[in-house]
Symmetry: C2
Subunit: 389 residues, 2 copies
């Protein structure tokens, strides 16, 4: 396989962007990444888009051709691909683009992730999110997305003694990081008390245990490694990738406190990269709920199983802790425009590895990881990145 | 790039399958292809699914994980990917799977295409189809999908003298082929008069100028070429692939009577395969409307520009004519479950090249082509296949 590197990154601000359309934000992120990569549009061989539900959120399918067209690339007749896998779609798009370059078919690919969620009401948005769980055996019986994650949280509390305070510590940490990220949806610190006292969404999860609905887009430019050195002094190599699936419905799984898809995707990525969890200094993991980050840091073997709660409360995953997790603010504070997530995570890791993360810079970051979930964990994708020098 | 071959094919019957769900048909097609390939489930490295709008048709996103799960593969934790690009999604999924194998990441991939369209009403289905055109500049002003293709037909009639009778000849031919295909939705011949006298959908297109709404699924097993020879005596090599995009909205395009995306995708595929249109004996092209097949055979350079109508009326594209087009019955008669289209086309070409097409066998078929459109031609994908011997 040919080596592939990230040579450009860009993203919009994340939030309720009611004055901008899907095509506006998709283009903004893409053009920022292209400018950052210092390539010309003629250099681009293909466009890949991660998007979960434009069909339902904005009544538009075929959004990859849409974005290429409105970005002014229609005359180039580029191949465009939209990839979906629930919330993991951006990370899967990144993987497909990587493989397409690795194969030799393309040299330079722009990978975008975008979602415009806030043009529909909150109830409808919740229904759309739950359509990534098993509609016929979960949603139809009234299980909401938050309700399913709440069951994982309850079981984790029962098995390992994890507390609501420990879960709240995830939100507090990620808001603290988000306050240092000028593109984050929430740039304001919160306290443990705020999280604990918030209205409940699905017991034991309250409003502050849940990532928000968001609009936003992110993009990266991928390039074959030899060529990458011509465009960039600091190409960030994709050292390994792993993707795995699992039973779609929670009740079919072996265990509620381990996401097997994360475990296996992580193993596959670390195996390819010939790295260990201890080699990683900075990770963006899928914290759509506070419990999700606790599961992720355990299942990726950054923290021993069952200790994710105490580890977070003790600050092991804080900025420049044992491992810095969700320095961007994560889905919780940076925001959660679903299709953008996997790509936005890569943007943050690239900035960290380049040393361009400003006030939230992780000192000595050399290897970074992204972890993205689809549904309630029926899909997981892990990418490992490393500085090219 | 590593060579990739098709070693197994399967599909459901196409039609109004009200007694079967999306997951049922997806699994049926996949298992048929796996059995045909004589592989074990442990041999599979990944699952790719082409699907346009499960989110809207059946309220379920994340269908790649769903299909893998219900096919009994969840324990293997395979990577699963859903690809969308309007009606071209099955063909794009095939391309992504090909590239993933070519890269060296996977050796054997199951590619499925599926759509369950008839559980919603016809008006809603038409709205969903039109969401692959430009919602903000076409659909919102009342342009239906049929209406947009009708404009192409009108212009083709004006520029080249194409007649309604010539367009009707496309439907008559494809129904004649469909009558020889036991999996086709319509297995009944029709006459030119039937087409001309049918109620109009969008002048000059009548009901019989339009492909139907359908349920159905198709699947192929792709394998790296060296390994393919171990599983199959007749691996069918993918000799070339081309994909191209165009302006999403019809009114932005250079010309209404040429789909530039088809022209360029075709050139790219023929270039990679080092073949010419004259080398191809059998082609499955995107005849969602009768005019679409006329555009396709011209834009792929099987027939001179402007002569597609007369050529069809004269029988040049009939079974064992100059080039046999849509021997399966095409979208028109085999049926049009959108996500399945590109994969079902590949199934037909593989059967033809293996000599297993029964009463509709093209004599001496050595090279075959598939051509699939997304939207009104903002995406086009062309694959070229050849017998491995």
């Amino acid at each position: 396989m040919r080596d592939v590197a990230v040579i450009g990154v860009g993203e919009t601000e994340f939030g309720e962007l009611w004055d901008r359309s899907f095509r506006d934000i998709g283009i903004e992120a893409g053009l920022k990444a292209i400018q950052d990569a210092k390539i010309r549009s003629e250099d681009i061989d293909a466009v890949y888009i991660g998007n979960m539900s434009a069909g339902k959120f904005i009544d538009q399918e075929h959004v990859s051709a849409l974005v290429a067209d409105y970005a002014g690339l229609a005359d180039m007749h580029l191949p465009t691909v939209r990839v979906e896998g629930g919330g993991a779609c951006g990370a899967i798009a990144l993987l497909q683009a990587r493989l397409a370059i690795a194969s030799g078919m393309y040299d330079i690919v722009v990978v975008g992730g975008a979602e415009k969620m806030t043009d529909v009401g909150e109830v409808q948005a919740a229904e759309i999110l739950s359509s990534t769980a098993d509609q016929e055996w979960e949603s139809v019986f009234g299980a909401t997305f938050a309700g399913l994650y709440a069951m994982m949280a309850r079981r984790h509390m029962y098995e390992f003694g994890t507390t609501r305070e420990q879960m709240a510590a995830v939100a507090v940490k990620n808001h603290k990081n988000g306050a240092l990220n000028p593109e984050a949806q929430f740039q304001k610190e919160i306290t443990i008390e705020t999280v604990l006292q918030a209205p409940r969404v699905a017991e034991p999860l309250g409003v502050f245990d849940c990532a928000p609905l968001s609009d936003g887009a992110a993009a990266v430019v991928l390039c074959e490694m030899q060529k990458a050195r011509k465009f960039s002094d600091a190409p960030i190599r994709i050292a390994g990738s792993g993707q795995a699936s699992d039973f779609l419905a929670l009740h079919d799984r072996r265990d509620l406190t381990t996401l097997d898809a994360t475990v296996i995707a992580g193993k596959r990525a670390f195996h390819e990269a010939r790295l260990q969890p201890k080699d990683v200094q900075v990770a963006e993991v899928h914290d759509n709920f506070t419990i999700s980050e606790i599961l992720a840091i355990e299942d990726l073997r950054f923290i021993e199983k069952g200790k994710g709660g105490p580890a977070t409360a003790e600050g092991l995953t804080a900025l420049n802790g044992k491992i810095s997790v969700n320095t961007s603010g994560g889905l919780k504070a940076r925001g959660q425009p679903v299709g953008a997530t996997g790509v936005a995570q890569a943007v943050e890791i690239v900035r960290q590895l380049r040393g361009e993360a400003g006030k939230r810079q992780v000192v000595g970051a050399r290897h970074g990881l992204t972890h993205t979930l689809g549904g309630t964990g029926a899909t997981a994708v892990v990418h490992l990145f490393e500085r090219g020098d």
